[in-house]
C-alpha cells in the first residue's frame, strides 16, 4: 500500500498542477494507477467486489477532486468500477451455473457435498440473487447505501462454514482480482488505440475534392485526415489557428509535412470561409450524456456558423471521453480560465491595471476561458471508436460503459457504513 500511496500522491500532484496534457494521456495514466491500486487491495473473505469498489472509489474521489474539469479521470474511475461490478456479476453467474450443475450431481454423490463448492451454495445463491435480480423499488430501498452490502448480510449466516469455504473463496477472490485486472488492461489498450479505430472510418466520410475545416489541434483529427489521405482521397484543409494557444499552427505544420494542402486562417475568418467548406471536423475534450460537447474555446462559434450554412459538424471522440453526467451550466462549472498574460502583455498594460473605479475595484478584467460548450443540436455526427452515432444516441452508450450506482462517487457519511 505505501507504494500505491506514493503513486497516488504523485498523480494527484500532476493533476492539480495541470501537468498532463490531453484526455487520452490522463485517461491512460488514471487507468494504470487504478490497476496498481486494485492489485494492492487486500481482499477480505467476503464481499470482494465491495472491497475493490471501496478502494477504487476512495482513490477515485481524490483524483476527481484534484481536477474536476478533466472529465476523463472521472470517466475512467467509473469505467473501472463498472468493470469490477461486471466481473463480479459474471463470476457469480458462473458460480450459479456451477451450483445448478452440482445440484444435479448431488443425487449421485452425497458425500462429496462438503468438499464441493456447493457447500457455499446458500451464500452464493443469496449473493447471486441480489446481483442478478432486476432493480425494483423494494430492492432499491433495501440496497441503500450499497448494493454490494447485500451479499454481506446474506452470507453472515454462512460464516459457520468459514474454514471450509475459505479455500475456494480465496481462489474466487483471486479470480476476481485477476479478471478485473485483465479487463483494466483491455481498457488501457482501448484507450491507446482509439485513434486507429476512429481513423479507419475516415474513408466513409471524405470523398474527392472536399474542403474540410477544423480549429485548433487534435491528434484524433490529424490521424483521421491522414488516414483519408493514405487512401488517396484528395481534399484540402482550412485550419483556424485557435487563439490564444494557436495550436492550429501546429496542426497546419503537421498536415503539410504529411503532404496535405492546408490553408491557415484566422479565427475571425471562419464565418467568411465556411460557405466554401464541405465539412467541419473537430475533436472534443469531453462528450456529455445529452450529446453536448465540451470543446476547445471557439468551437461554439464554428458550430453556429456551420449550422447557418448547413455544413455538417462532425465531432471525433474516443469512448474514454464519454461522460455519464448531464451538463448543468457547463460554461462556468466545466470550464477553466487561463492566464490573462496570453491575451495582454502585463508590462504594456500595467498602468491600466492601477486605475480604480469609485469603489476601488480594478477597471480592467481579462477573460480567457479554455473550453466552450456546444449543444447537441449543433452536432451532426459523433464518430467514436465504436462507429458513428447521432447526438441523441450517446446516452445509450453510457449503459455499455458505466453503472448507474457509480454516477455519484462521493461516499455517503450516513448510516449505511
Amino acid at each position: 500500500m505505501p507504494d500505491t500511496q506514493a503513486l497516488v500522491n504523485d498523480f494527484l500532484n500532476k493533476l492539480k498542477k495541470r501537468k498532463i496534457e490531453g484526455s487520452q494521456a490522463t485517461a491512460k495514466q488514471t487507468a494504470e494507477l487504478l490497476r496498481s491500486v486494485i492489485s494492492q487491495t487486500r481482499m477480505p473473505y467476503t464481499n470482494q467486489a465491495a472491497a475493490l469498489i471501496h478502494s477504487v472509489k476512495a482513490v477515485g474521489e481524490r483524483l476527481i477532486a484534484a481536477n474536476p474539469v478533466e472529465l476523463a479521470v472521472g470517466n475512467v474511475v467509473r469505467r473501472v468500477l463498472h468493470i469490477v461490478r461486471e466481473e463480479d456479476l459474471s463470476l457469480t453467474t458462473a458460480a450459479m451455473a456451477g451450483l445448478n450443475l452440482s445440484a444435479e450431481s448431488d443425487d449421485e454423490d452425497d458425500t462429496d457435498r462438503d468438499n464441493h463448492p456447493a457447500l457455499s451454495a446458500a451464500a452464493i445463491a443469496a449473493a447471486s440473487r441480489s446481483t442478478l435480480r432486476p432493480p425494483s423499488l423494494q430492492t432499491l430501498l433495501e440496497d441503500v447505501p450499497d448494493s454490494a452490502a447485500v451479499p454481506h448480510t446474506s452470507s453472515s449466516g454462512g460464516d459457520s462454514e468459514g474454514k471450509s469455504k475459505s479455500a475456494d473463496k480465496s481462489s474466487r477472490s483471486r479470480k476476481l482480482k485477476h479478471d478485473v485486472i485483465e479487463a483494466v488492461n483491455e481498457l488501457i489498450q482501448d484507450i491507446s488505440t482509439c485513434h486507429e479505430l476512429i481513423a479507419e472510418q475516415a474513408v466513409e466520410h471524405i470523398h474527392q475534392n472536399e474542403v474540410i475545416l477544423t480549429l485548433g489541434s487534435s491528434r484524433t483529427v490529424l490521424e483521421f485526415l491522414c488516414a483519408a489521405k493514405e487512401k488517396k482521397r484528395s481534399f484540402r484543409v482550412f485550419v483556424a489557428e485557435g487563439a490564444p494557444r494557436y495550436q492550429g499552427h501546429l496542426l497546419a505544420k503537421e498536415l503539410v509535412t504529411r503532404g496535405l494542402q492546408t490553408t491557415l486562417i484566422t479565427d475571425s475568418a471562419v464565418f467568411a470561409m465556411i460557405s466554401r467548406v464541405n465539412m467541419v471536423i473537430v475533436g472534443a475534450h469531453a462528450v456529455m450524456a445529452n450529446g453536448g460537447v465540451i470543446a476547445p474555446v471557439g468551437l461554439n462559434m464554428v458550430a453556429l456558423a456551420a449550422q447557418k450554412h448547413a455544413v455538417p459538424f462532425v465531432v471525433l471522440a474516443g469512448s474514454h471521453k464519454l461522460c455519464p453526467l448531464y451538463p448543468h451550466h457547463p460554461e462556468v462549472l466545466l470550464n477553466e480560465l487561463r492566464s490573462p498574460s496570453e491575451l495582454l502583455d502585463f508590462g504594456e498594460f500595467s498602468d491600466c491595471l492601477d486605475f480604480g473605479s469609485g469603489i476601488g475595484a480594478p477597471l480592467l478584467h481579462v477573460v480567457n476561458p479554455t473550453f466552450d460548450y456546444v449543444p447537441p443540436k449543433l452536432v451532426s455526427l459523433f464518430i467514436t471508436d465504436t462507429g458513428g452515432h447521432n447526438p441523441s444516441y450517446m446516452y445509450r452508450l453510457i449503459a455499455d460503459y458505466y453503472s448507474a450506482d457509480d454516477l455519484v462517487l462521493e461516499r455517503r457519511t450516513t448510516s449505511g457504513n
Partner: protein
C-alpha cells in the same frame, strides 16, 4: 450647354473607381437613375476589361506561390519593402504631390486605418493638392484637374485598396469638379472646391457622428453590458459620450489576431474611467451570456443590407443573434453603397500573410518558423481584412438619418444620394 459625359477619363484606374465614375449630365431624372446603375466592378484578374491594371501595376507582384486559390481575383497585399520601386516607377508617369504621397505612405505602413480617418486624410491631401494646382495652358480646369485627381487615386490604390468611404468621397469630388460653372476663374474654382470638400467632411462625417452619438446614447441604459469588436471610432465615441452623460455600464472589448486593434481601444477606454472586460474572439460564446447590447462599426453597408466590416464582425453578430442580444451597427450614411454582396469572398482585401504566423508579445508561438520547402509548398496563409455580415443578424443601423432597419439602406442610397451630389 451640355457637357460631354466623362467616362473613365485620364489614365485607366486599376479598380472600382473607374467603374463608379458616372458623371451626371443634364438629362431627365429617370434616365439619370438608370444610368446610375453601377456597372460590374473591374476585377483584378479580368484580362479583357481591366487586365491592363496588372500590367501597369508599378509594384512587382509578390510570388504567386503562397496565394490562396480562392482569392486570386484580389490584389495581393503590398508591404513597406516595395516602397523604393513604387517611388521610382510611379512618379515617372505621374506628377507627385507631397501631401498625397505622405498619405499614401501612411496607408502602406498601416499607420492610418479606419474608414473615416482614411477618408478625411485623403480629402485633406486633395485640398492641398487643389490649392497648389495651376491649370496648364491649352487645357480646361475641369478635365485636367479630374485627370490629376485620377492619378492621385491610382497612387493611393497602389498603396492600399480604397475603402468604400473613400470611393464615395472621390465620386463626390469628381462630380463637384464636373459641375463647376465654366465662368469661374481658376482661383474661384479652387476656393469653391476646397470649401466643398470642407463642407463634405463637416456635414457627412463630423456632424453625422454627432447625430449618431445622440441617437445611440438613447439605447444605452444603466446596468447595461455593451460588447464591441475591434476598434471603431464611432463606437468609441458613443461609449465615451454615454459615460460622460453619467450612464453606468460595462464594456466588453473583443479582439482578434492579427490586428489586435481592441487593445488600443481598451487603453483609451480604461484611461477615461470605463470599466472594461477584455477577451478574444473565440471566447465570445462565454461572454455573450452576460451581454445586453452589441455595438459594431462598419466600413460600408451594401444595398441588400449586408454589413461590410472588419473580419470577425460576422461571427460576433451571429453569436449575438443566437443568444438573442440586439446588434446595433453605427455607420454614417456616406458609407452606404449601391453594390450588393452575398458572401465575403467575391470582394475583400488581403492582408499580410506573414502576420498570421507571428503573434506580437508571444515568443512561444513560433511553430511556423523554419519550414522546409516541401512544407512551404503545401501551406497557404490567408489573412482577410473584411467580411460581410448578413442582414438578418443586424437589429438596427444607427445613421445620421436616424435609426433604420437594414432593409432601408437601398432607400437611403436612392433618395439621398442625389442630395449630397448636389450640395
Amino acid at each position: 450647354m451640355k457637357q460631354p459625359p466623362q467616362k473613365k477619363d485620364g489614365p485607366p484606374v486599376a479598380s472600382s473607381i473607374a467603374a463608379s465614375e458616372r458623371i451626371g449630365v443634364d438629362r431627365s431624372v429617370e434616365k439619370e437613375r438608370k444610368k446610375d446603375l453601377p456597372p460590374p466592378r473591374k476585377q483584378f484578374d479580368d484580362e479583357s476589361r481591366g487586365g491592363r491594371a496588372k500590367r501597369r501595376s508599378v509594384l512587382n507582384q509578390p510570388e504567386a506561390r503562397n496565394r490562396v486559390e480562392l482569392f486570386r481575383h484580389l490584389p495581393p497585399h503590398k508591404n513597406g519593402t516595395q516602397l523604393p520601386s513604387l517611388e521610382s516607377k510611379f512618379f515617372e508617369l505621374h506628377e507627385k504631390h507631397p501631401a498625397v504621397y505622405k498619405v499614401g505612405l501612411q496607408y502602406l505602413a498601416g499607420d492610418l486605418s479606419g474608414g473615416n480617418a482614411r477618408c478625411i486624410a485623403m480629402l485633406q491631401a486633395f485640398q492641398e493638392a487643389i490649392r497648389d494646382y495651376s491649370t496648364p495652358p491649352e487645357k480646361t480646369l475641369t478635365r485636367d484637374l479630374t485627370s490629376k485627381i485620377g492619378g492621385f487615386v491610382s497612387f493611393l490604390i497602389e498603396c492600399r485598396p480604397l475603402s468604400m468611404s473613400m470611393g464615395n468621397a472621390i465620386r463626390f469630388l469628381k462630380s463637384r469638379i464636373a459641375r463647376l460653372p465654366l465662368t469661374l476663374s481658376e482661383s474661384e474654382a479652387k476656393t469653391t472646391l476646397c470649401s466643398d470638400i470642407d463642407r463634405f467632411i463637416n456635414e457627412k462625417i463630423v456632424l453625422a457622428d454627432k447625430v449618431i452619438l445622440r441617437h445611440a446614447a438613447t439605447k444605452i441604459r444603466d446596468g447595461d453590458v455593451l460588447l464591441t469588436y475591434g476598434s471603431s471610432c464611432v463606437v468609441e465615441m458613443i461609449l465615451l459620450y454615454a459615460h460622460e452623460l453619467g450612464k453606468q455600464f460595462r464594456v466588453v472589448v473583443v479582439d482578434s489576431h492579427p490586428m489586435l486593434e481592441g487593445q488600443k481601444l481598451l487603453r483609451r477606454l480604461v484611461v477615461k474611467g470605463l470599466s472594461c472586460t477584455y477577451t478574444q474572439l473565440n471566447a465570445i460564446s462565454y461572454v455573450m451570456h452576460k451581454v445586453t447590447r452589441v455595438f459594431l462599426g462598419a466600413s460600408s453597408i451594401f444595398s441588400n443590407g449586408t454589413v461590410y466590416s472588419t473580419v470577425g464582425t460576422a461571427s460576433v453578430a451571429m453569436v449575438a443573434h443566437a443568444f438573442r442580444v440586439p446588434v446595433l451597427v453605427c455607420c454614417e450614411a456616406y458609407k452606404f453603397h449601391e453594390r450588393v454582396q452575398l458572401d465575403s469572398i467575391c470582394f475583400n482585401e488581403l492582408g499580410d500573410p506573414d502576420a498570421i504566423s507571428k503573434v506580437p508579445g508571444r515568443v512561444d508561438v513560433n511553430y511556423l518558423d523554419n519550414l522546409t520547402d516541401k512544407q512551404k509548398e503545401n501551406l497557404e496563409l490567408l489573412n482577410l481584412k473584411y467580411d460581410a455580415t448578413p442582414s438578418d443578424y443586424i437589429s438596427v443601423i444607427v445613421t445620421d438619418y436616424g435609426m433604420i432597419p437594414p432593409t432601408s439602406v437601398p432607400v437611403i442610397v436612392r433618395e439621398y444620394r442625389k442630395e449630397y451630389l448636389l450640395i
